[in-house]
């Protein structure tokens, strides 16, 4: 079974930053969350997927096709949402529909109307008058209305309030009910990713630190709370990262290997990211 998206040893060099041999695989029917600090290379990866910038090495396949010079048919099947709404300011719902109808062969006007109503987007206003939330909702509605098989989202929900984000998450989960559909989304809002992702790829300073099933994080890792002294007595190979406070210490540990009645909380994706980065800094 071919993957929906695949990166193989992809490299991109800029002065001062390098995306270094990034590899990942997104099986069809799954959602992958891409996490990482600002400047870790997430947007670069997304631009590379859509061939907006050139890579220096490696290969990317999108729905089985090489990302360089993607055939039109494949582009029809990919829905992209950028971190900003890219419609010119004079566009309103009606004109957006007209434009997209002429661009996409598979444009589904009914679906677009449905989504636009579900999102309560104003009919008469132009993009210029939209709030950030409305702009993103429009972009998402457009991305879902040409019968895509793969959704690629670059920080599509940042800057939105939790209520709106929840709505949008519902729409994504509906999308994924069809097992030929897949989603690749980069986000800072880790709580969103916790809710729905099947896979997580953690990118840090251009390198992939972790790319695996999200549940492995919760199963394998835990956040240990103990005293500083106790922390020192633990096998350092089990510790991913630690943090000390005035009243004790915390550490991300491989909980299956840790024997004894320690106080261990479930680890979240956010824990994974924060502890890892903290460790790197020290």
């Amino acid at each position: 079974m071919e993957h929906a998206l695949e990166f193989r040893e992809v490299t991109k060099q800029y002065t001062g930053f390098t995306l270094d041999r990034v590899s990942l695989q997104l099986p069809k029917g799954c959602i992958m969350g891409l996490i990482g600090e600002n400047g870790a290379g997430k947007s670069t990866m997304i631009k590379l997927i859509m061939d907006l910038i050139r890579k220096d090495g490696g290969a990317i396949t999108v729905l089985g096709q090489d990302s360089v010079n993607l055939p039109r048919q494949t582009k029809e099947a990919v829905g992209v949402v950028m971190d900003e709404c890219c419609f010119p300011e004079y566009v309103n719902l009606q004109s957006a529909n007209k434009i997209m109808k002429s661009i996409y062969r598979m444009w589904d006007e009914t679906k677009f109307q449905e989504l636009v109503q579900r999102f309560s987007l104003p009919e008469k206003k132009t993009v210029k008058e939209y709030s950030r939330g409305m702009k993103m909702k429009l972009s998402i509605a457009v991305a879902l209305s040409h019968r895509p098989q793969l959704l690629v989202l670059d920080e599509a929900t940042s800057g939105l309030d939790p209520v709106v984000r929840n709505e949008i998450l519902d729409v994504f989960l509906d999308f994924i009910q069809d097992e030929t559909h897949s989603i690749f989304m980069s986000s800072h809002i880790l709580s969103d990713l916790e809710k729905a992702c099947d896979y997580i790829t953690f990118l840090h300073q251009g390198k992939v630190i972790f790319s695996d099933e999200k549940d492995r994080i919760t199963e394998q890792y835990g956040v240990l709370k103990c005293s500083e002294k106790e922390l020192e007595s633990i096998d350092p190979s089990l510790i991913v990262g630690k943090r000390k406070n005035a009243f004790g210490a915390e550490a991300l540990v491989l909980k299956s290997k840790l024997r004894g009645g320690y106080l261990i909380d479930n680890a979240t994706v956010e824990d994974m990211m924060l502890f890892y980065i903290k460790e790197k800094e020290q």
């Binding site: 631009k47 910038i53 010119p88 004109s95």
Partner: protein, 205 residues
């Protein structure tokens, strides 16, 4: 590509409606003063500038990188702009003929000959300016655009002042060259489009 054109034409509604009003007013003024020349200049200028406006809207919204995620190629984006320029030049041309005819009704062919140079200049301008805009973008390209606009005039003045012998440029010779200018313009446009495609294909967005 049709979709891209539609998008650009749609920008006409909105603040650009003011320009339409200006044209209308000027039209009325020209009609009553029996002088179509200012009108022709204005309309042709506007037609050519419109392409620049469309590029500016695209740049501001980041449309091009979005468009490339659609079943649209880089060449499509470039060609659509040239088609837009041609479309607006054609509209300006028609408006000019109507005005010329209204001001001095008579020989239709005469009117067309009067108005044709304006269309030619507009297309020439588009051919020169578009590669600049694709390479530098609208913000950075503004300076270059002004240069391109004034360069022919400056060049002409320079030649005149420098006293270079232009005796060989007889009226007879000019009359023979002029019928070929449309061909020249078309070739220039094709060359410009080719250049723009090359520039845009390499651009990182």
């Amino acid at each position: 590509m049709i979709g891209l054109l539609k998008k650009d034409v749609m920008s006409f509604s909105g603040q650009t409606k003011i320009y339409l009003l200006v044209i209308l007013l000027y039209g009325v003024f020209s009609f009553f003063s029996k002088d179509a020349s200012m009108f022709s200049v204005l309309v042709s200028l506007f037609g050519a500038m419109y392409v620049v406006t469309a590029m500016a809207y695209d740049e501001k919204s980041g449309w091009n990188k979005y468009a490339l995620t659609m079943p649209v190629s880089r060449d499509d984006i470039v060609i659509a702009k040239y088609l837009l320029g041609a479309l607006f030049t054609a509209c300006a041309f028609i408006l000019n003929i109507v005005m010329a005819f209204a001001v001095a009704p008579g020989n239709l062919l005469e009117s067309i000959y009067q108005v044709l140079p304006f269309a030619g200049i507009a297309l020439f301008y588009i051919a020169v300016v578009l590669p600049i805009l694709f390479k530098l973008g609208v913000e950075k390209g503004r300076m270059m655009m002004l240069v391109a606009f004034f360069a022919p005039t400056i060049l002409f003045l320079f030649i005149k002042e420098s006293g270079i012998n232009l005796d060989w440029l007889t009226e007879d010779l000019l009359n023979r060259i002029i019928p070929f200018t449309p061909v020249f313009i078309v070739l220039l446009l094709i060359g410009s489009a080719w250049l723009s495609c090359r520039i845009f294909r390499k651009k990182e967005l």
